[in-house]
Symmetry: C2
């Protein structure tokens, strides 16, 4: 019943850190790591790979950098079946700051880019591959990219050596037919590449869109514990694991960490489905205005937010 | 882009009342009613139609009975385009307690039944039709009905005069392929009937399953404001209206009532996605054990609940 080729990637710390500047305690990160190991999850994306000069350590926590000494404090030598990933943003990491994979605890680097950065993303991705990493390119905000630009980007990636390419619903504005169309387009334009899915939950469709992506042949599935992530959050890892029939995955370790660390965090961080996130998702807008609203005293004035965002009634 | 034949049915008060014994203030119910009118929603299901002797008015609020005088206090003569519906459970309403439609503010009666009650449901439905009501039959808990029993029930309904039949995911255990299979089966077995969808959100799939049902030709769509409903709640009315492209629907009045009445209720009632509801949904179990757990002091001990429910890890 299950597909052996499916890989589940937890990005709780990486995407969730967008809500708290990666200010997670070591206990928190270690609990997520242990849960992923025990649950049989394939990859854990533990943060971003950034150069020290790009961000201030007084503002952002260690998972914005993913230095080896920080990783080692959590995972030791990582003598487990769980692979570790970090995301790299174009312009935030210098090539010389990326260690050889043989000297790093990281197994995979995922290069995030906007459509105008695809050539730079391919360059960075090739560099990482040459250093021994597994590599993907994650094209963000594709719901706002016009057809001409997207076709050109896909053609460039098709010609590259990069083996994995992600369908990313950054704004949580896609529904099943959008995902179906996009994944079919990706597969047709880039034969032989593996396709991944990264969904956001603005319209409570992240889990369903991930199922649609599976049905269309996606093999890399992003998810986070209790959906922890930017704005409305992500596809829930615990729902995904409950859905997948692969006997290697186990739900109980995930529930333990949700119970101990993730659920209590809801007191401090307002990720998940909230009306302002629905509004930006339905309008195919970046969630930043909704996040700003949710941080203000007017967070529960949904009508004012919608009026501010758009004149549709 | 939109389908004219689609009807949206709000069941906020009826399904939400399962969480608080229909103890809503008149202000609350009036706000939902006004929102539905202003938003262009087609039906509002305001409660259950029950005989007085079936329930104690000291325990349940007026929307368990939907007496004309209670309705009139909220809706006046209901000189609007919004139609009013009530749900009738088999055995909870005596035929003689149902007024003629011409003497009632109700436009529609939806007969809820389990598979062994289908013959009684058809009898009650015909009775209501003969009294002048629009009528549907809503077969609950179909995810636990075996194929032989379901085929027989569908054949009986196909032969009846009842024009509308609902696909009901009582346990929130269905995903898109389940809904697709079920709706196709219903349409094939009952040509000429309209099909409705009533989804629950245990696996955060209620909205997606409603979209799938639309794609399969369902025309009656149930939803509630902010998903208020039993356990994990229902398909969110505000997401559905944001999704539908029919220009007659308006989102802003729904957000106003969510802001004023529904969102504040989250302090008192724990509907919506919570891990215990995921567990019962994934196991295709009635949510009652999860609701009981959520009412206990151990509500956030997710691991203990899952261990109690099942030995799968």
């Amino acid at each position: 019943m299950y597909r052996k080729e499916i890989k589940v990637l937890d990005c709780t710390v990486r995407d969730g850190g967008l809500m708290n500047n990666w200010q997670f305690s070591d206990d928190f990160v270690r609990s997520v790591y242990n849960a992923c190991v025990e649950a049989g999850v394939d990859y854990m994306e533990i943060g971003y790979l950034s150069s020290e000069k790009a961000f201030d350590r007084n503002v952002v926590g260690p998972w914005k950098f993913c230095k080896d000494e920080d990783l080692r404090r959590i995972v030791g030598d990582n003598n487990t079946s769980l692979k570790l990933s970090a995301m790299a943003d174009i312009g935030r990491i210098d090539l010389e700051d990326i260690p050889m994979a043989s000297e790093s605890l990281l197994d995979m680097i995922r290069v995030a880019c906007y459509v105008h950065q695809v050539d730079k993303a391919i360059e960075l991705a090739h560099h990482c591959m040459d250093k021994g990493y597994e590599v993907s390119i994650n094209l963000m905000a594709v719901s706002t990219v016009n057809e001409r630009d997207l076709d050109e980007a896909l053609a460039d990636i098709a010609k590259s050596r990069v083996p994995i390419f992600y369908a990313v619903d950054s704004y949580g504005s896609m529904y099943n037919e959008t995902v179906q169309h996009l994944v079919r387009k990706y597969k047709a334009a880039m034969p032989g590449k593996e396709i991944g899915i990264h969904a956001h939950n603005n319209m409570q469709l992240a889990m369903a869109n991930t199922i649609t992506a599976i049905q269309e042949g996606c093999t890399y599935l992003d998810a986070t514990l209790l959906g922890l992530g930017r704005g409305a959050g992500n596809c829930h890892l615990e729902i995904l694991v409950a859905f997948l029939k692969n006997p290697k995955y186990r739900l109980l370790p995930l529930l333990q960490t949700i119970q101990d660390h993730i659920h209590p965090l809801q007191k401090d961080i307002d990720w998940g489905y909230h009306i302002p996130y629905l509004v930006t998702g339905a309008l195919n807008e970046h969630p930043r205005s909704a996040m700003k609203w949710m941080d203000s005293e007017r967070k529960n004035d949904f009508v004012a937010f919608m009026k501010e965002m758009h004149d549709y009634q």
